[in-house]
Each structure stands twice: as C-alpha cells, then as structure tokens.
C-alpha cells in the first residue's frame, strides 16, 4: 500500500461513506429514517447525540477530548459531566463549558430522559455496574476497557445490552486503528500460514515501596462512591485514581489493562470473538512489598480447541524492538513500543506492537498489496465513529460488549488461575469454570449496596 492509499485508510470515515460532508456542523448520517430512529428511542437523524461523561479524570478526560472531535463535526453535544472527585469535576466543567451540568452521582444522569448516551471512564471496578444501570435506563454506552472485573459482571453486561437494545462500544480502540485493519487483512489472507500460537509480551508492573498506611480521604473525594461496588476498605493514597490498576480486585494489573488491548487484537484477527479457551494456566511473581498485589511478572497460557491454537501472556516475555517509523505513517510516532505480540504461523511470523491508540504493525503487512480475489475485512471508521454507526443504524460495533467481555474474561481467568495457583478448566458454552468450586465462586464477587448489578 502506498502513502496515498494509507492516507485514504486513515481518513475514511463513516461520514464520508454516508455521503455527508465531513466537518460540516450538520445532521448525523441518514442511514435509516428519522422516524424509525425516534421510534426505537434512538436520536432522530436531525438531532445530535446528547452525551454525558461519567468519570472525567485520567482516561475519562482523554475520552472527552476524543469525543469532542465528533462534537466539532456536529454529531453530538456534551450535556453533563460526573465525577466523585470535586477537583476533577471542576476541571471538567471548565473544559466542557457552562452548558454541561455537573454531578457527583452518575444516577442523576441516568434518570434524565434527554441524555442519549454515556461515556464511562471510571475505574474498572465501576464499569459493569454503571454499564448495566445505563443500559437499563436505555442509554447507548461507550465504556472504557476492560469491560468487567468478574465473569458474572460480563454476563450481566451482555444481557443488559441485548435486552435494552442499546449500542455499546468497549474502549479497546486498537481494533479501530488503520494498522489493525491492515494486520487483520494480511493475516486472514494466509500470509504467515495457519497461526497456531500468539505470544503477547509486556513490561513488568511497578512495586509500591512507599509503605503508605491507610488514612482519611481528601475532602474533595467521595471515598464511598469511589469504592462503589467494592467491599469497604479504608482510604489509602496508593489505592486511588490511576494506581488502582495495580490491585487485583480493582485494576487487575497489566494483564487486565494492556491485555484488553493486545488480546483484543488477537481475538479479532484470529476470528476468535465468541470463542474461549478450554484451559488457563498461570504463574506469577507478586510485588515484594507494598499495597499493590497484582503480578510484577506473569506468564499465562490459554489453550483453545477447534480450532486448536495457544495464546500466551508473558510479562515481560521477549520484547521485540519496533520497526523504525518514517513519520509519514498514520499516527506519526510509536506511542506504545513496550508491549505487543508475535503471531506464529506455519509459514512465518508477524509482529504487532501496542494495541490501543498506538497500534503498530510490521512493515510487510503495512505494504502488502492484496492480489485480485483477496479477502477483505471490516475497516472501522474510528472507534467512536463506529459506535455512532451502531447508535444510528443498530449495526454491531467492532468492540461490542460481547467481544469486550470475551477479552476481559481472558484477563479475569488469567488472574484467577494465578491467584488460585492451579489450572482452570473453562466451559465457553456455559461461561463457567468447571470442576473447581472455589474458582467457580470467584467468577462473581458480591457487591456493596446499593452499588450493585
């Protein structure tokens, strides 16, 4: 693919596909009739999607900025922001402007009939509860990855989305990157033959050496709401925004964070959405001290059957230096060189780096020219744009909740196998761990009242 073709890939949006002038502050694409949209409780074609943001610090703030690109195209407006930290809420209000209402409790947003959709950018332990509640209130949902922290949460999310017929997108945005399309197309056309193994690698997790004791939360923070569904524990400055990632019960470590990106690409490119492993084995090295308990180093093996292939998570594994970029490619620079995956086929290997917005792939796939008759694959117009297509047309999004939960389940099962120190057997059809009562119980985690499914 030459430069011109690559740019075309990067620029192609559903607006253009629908014949609408991109950048004009006009209506959403008329893919189905306004009456049909309105009758389904969806925004009419002459309306902008009214979006509220739940969780507006850290990644939540980034999601706002990304979403704002669609507002500038006239596709949506920001009507409310919500956060349990008043400082973050104030900062978001300044950013969004006076037209947006501010809330501490997301349920004020859910009871508003004039809100069409929510963007959930809260810590992982809130994702499932807020997703299910929003679906039950008829809101379309963009939810940051990973989709869920337990198997039960994932089941509830899928059921709520189906029952309420909402469009959902989980934030594993790597699938929507131009390079992801090129990699997918390269692999499904057999360029490295039949793939029997995918080895993901990622740098180790940090260790908390601060010896921070529990204490009182700062006045701007509603600690009860921050904890939400989690069982009560005293406030600790090392268990908060951002660093929650390093606790198993909340963030789940690198595997649940970046695994939800790298393994998302693997499941997509392997055509494995809707499938699952039959066994999961894990070993890991925990931190030597501190509050954080997710693995510093970790190795997980997922064995799939019919078709047979193996997926592994290796922390740190064997990092592969990324190919040098010229700067002419979409994206401009390598933002995630520290993790990736190696695809092993019977006719060669293929390297992938990153997996979120910084997805990057080997040159041989970027420059591969499909011969006549080659199989093409779905190309996302952009992760938010793909979600909006789902809202307006009812089509299945690229990282719909079923796919998102499937990837999150891999991360959850990997951590469970590590925590229990034994091999787990997984029944994909029943979505259950079998032959291990304790592990079966850990598929769910009862939640604190009233912050529950």
């Amino acid at each position: 693919m030459n430069r011109k073709e690559r740019d075309l890939v990067a620029r192609r949006t559903f607006l253009q596909a629908a014949g609408t002038a991109a950048g004009a502050a006009i209506a959403a694409p008329r893919l189905i009739s306004p009456r049909a949209l309105a009758s389904q409780g969806k925004p009419g074609a002459n309306e902008r999607v009214r979006v509220a943001h739940i969780g507006v610090g850290g990644r939540g703030a980034s999601l706002y900025h990304e979403m704002d690109g669609l507002r500038r195209k006239g596709l949506c407006e920001h009507v409310a922001v919500c956060d349990v930290d008043d400082r973050r809420l104030e900062a978001a209000s300044k950013l969004v402007g006076p037209q947006a209402d501010v809330y501490r409790d997301y349920r004020y947003i859910l009871e508003r009939k004039d809100v069409d959709a929510v963007v959930i950018g809260t810590p992982d332990h809130w994702h499932a509860v807020q997703f299910v509640h929003a679906a039950e209130c008829g809101k379309h949902i963009y939810c940051e990855k990973p989709a869920c922290c337990t198997i039960e949460e994932g089941k509830a999310m899928v059921e709520a989305a189906r029952k309420n017929k909402i469009a959902s997108q989980i934030g594993s945005q790597g699938r929507s990157q131009p390079e992801a399309y090129l990699a997918h197309r390269y692999l499904v056309n057999g360029n490295i033959g039949r793939i029997s193994r995918v080895d993901c690698w990622h740098y180790p997790s940090p260790v908390d050496k601060s010896h921070t004791p529990d204490g009182d939360p700062p006045p701007e923070l509603d600690w009860d709401l921050w904890l939400g569904p989690l069982r009560w524990r005293p406030y600790n400055a090392k268990y908060l925004h951002g660093v929650f990632r390093w606790l198993l019960e909340s963030g789940g470590g690198q595997i649940r964070d970046r695994g939800a990106h790298v393994m998302s690409c693997a499941m997509w490119w392997m055509g494995a959405d809707g499938t699952g492993p039959v066994t999961v084995e894990a070993t890991g090295t925990p931190p030597e001290e501190g509050l954080w308990d997710s693995c510093v180093e970790m190795q997980v093996t997922y064995t799939f059957k019919d078709p047979d292939w193996v997926l592994t998570w290796n922390q740190p594994g064997e990092p592969v230096p990324p190919e040098e970029r010229t700067g002419e490619e979409p994206g401009g620079k390598i933002t995630r060189p520290g993790y990736g995956a190696v695809y092993r086929g019977d006719r060669g290997t293929f390297h992938h780096w990153g997996g979120d917005g910084g997805t990057w792939i080997e040159k041989k796939a970027r420059e591969w020219v499909p011969p006549p008759g080659a199989r093409d694959v779905y190309q996302s117009p952009g992760h938010f744009e793909d979600w909006f297509e789902g809202i307006f047309t009812g089509k299945k999004t690229i990282m719909n909740v079923e796919a998102g939960v499937g990837v999150a389940n891999l991360c959850v099962l990997g951590n469970l196998a590590y925590m229990l120190g034994r091999k787990l057997h997984w029944d994909q059809a029943k979505q259950e761990i079998v032959g291990d009562e304790e592990a079966r119980r850990l598929m769910s985690r009862p939640q604190r009242h009233p912050y529950h499914l």
Partner: protein, 190 residues
C-alpha cells in the same frame, strides 16, 4: 525455599528483607490451617509490611485449601477461620469473612452465629455479601432472619441479596438506580 513450618513461616514473615517476606507468604499455602491463628495475630499486630505479608499468607492457605481434592484441609481452614473472627480488628475480621466466602460449604453455616454477624453494625454488610456468594439453604435462612430484623437501607440490601438467590421479596424495592449524592461544584460560567 525449603519446606516451611509454622515457626519458620512466622520468622520469615517478620524478616526485614521484603523478598524473604514475599517468598514466605507466597509459599504459605501448604503450611496449612494450623498457621492461621498465629498469622491472624501477626496480621493484626505486626508492623505495616509484616502485617500485609501475614494477611497474604492467610489468603494463600485459604486458596490452597480450596483446591479440588483437599476436603480435610478445607474443612480445617473453615473451622480455624470461624474461630478467629470475634477477636480480630474490624478490617481483618472482614478479610476473614471474605476468606470464608470462598471455601465454606452451606451446611457449615451456623445460623445463629451467621445472623449475629449479619446484624453486627461493623461486619453486617460484608457478611451479607459473603452469604450471597455461598448461597445455599442455610445462607438464605440467615439472610431471611436478618431481613426480618433489619430496617431501612440494610433491609433493602438484604432483600436484594435474597432476590439474587431466587427468593421472592416484593418489598422494599431495590434502590440501586436512585441518586443519593449531590456535589457542591457548580457548572463553571453558569
């Protein structure tokens, strides 16, 4: 690391070397439930990092005991943990309840003790959640007893647990979607 005994485990957990502590608690599972009382004391009274290591050693024993085919060890762990709860600091007692939620069989629940824990102001909410996880006839009976005695929001919480366990509990309705908390932050510029 050579095979641990209760004594060598406790000594290693109190080492000033964090790597020795980490390796000790990581290998604590096979030491077995007899170590739980001493570990609980260390988790309650030890210096911050020693207490964390002791707590993690307790979890390792629970997860070792919960493996398929270890019924005797599991049963002994449940007995040992059950005897610990009343003498522990609140947060550690909550941890022990959650340990029990992973490995306790429904028939092992004493309804009188379970109801007392459910009605305990400090431990009630964790007890409710743990009973919901165990979820058999005895767990339901304890939740029903608590439902009859509780009032206000805690009764609503128990009602939600009972519904999740398949019981028909019409009142009070689940308040999960009712907003409760307001902010003093005002929209900037309005």
């Amino acid at each position: 690391m050579e095979e641990l005994t209760v004594e060598t485990l406790l000594k290693a957990l109190q080492s000033s070397d964090p790597f020795i502590r980490r390796d000790a608690w990581s290998a604590a599972g096979a030491v077995g439930p007899t170590a739980l009382p001493a570990l609980a004391r260390l988790a309650a009274e030890g210096e911050l990092e020693v207490a964390r290591a002791a707590n993690r050693a307790m979890w390792q024993i629970v997860r070792y005991a919960g493996a398929p085919g270890r019924e005797m060890v599991r049963s002994a762990a449940v007995t040992a943990l059950g005897e610990l709860i009343s003498g522990l600091p609140t947060q550690l007692a909550r941890d022990v309840l959650w340990m029990l939620s992973e490995i306790t069989q429904d028939w092992e629940i004493d309804q009188a003790i379970g109801t007392a824990l459910l009605m305990n102001p400090e431990l009630g909410e964790d007890t409710r959640m743990c009973l919901e996880r165990i979820g058999g006839e005895n767990a339901v009976a304890v939740l029903q007893a608590g439902y009859a005695r509780a009032g206000g929001d805690f009764q609503a919480a128990i009602a939600c647990s009972l519904r999740r366990l398949g019981q028909d509990v019409p009142q009070p309705p689940c308040p999960k979607l009712q907003p409760r908390k307001t902010t003093s932050v005002k929209p900037v510029g309005r």
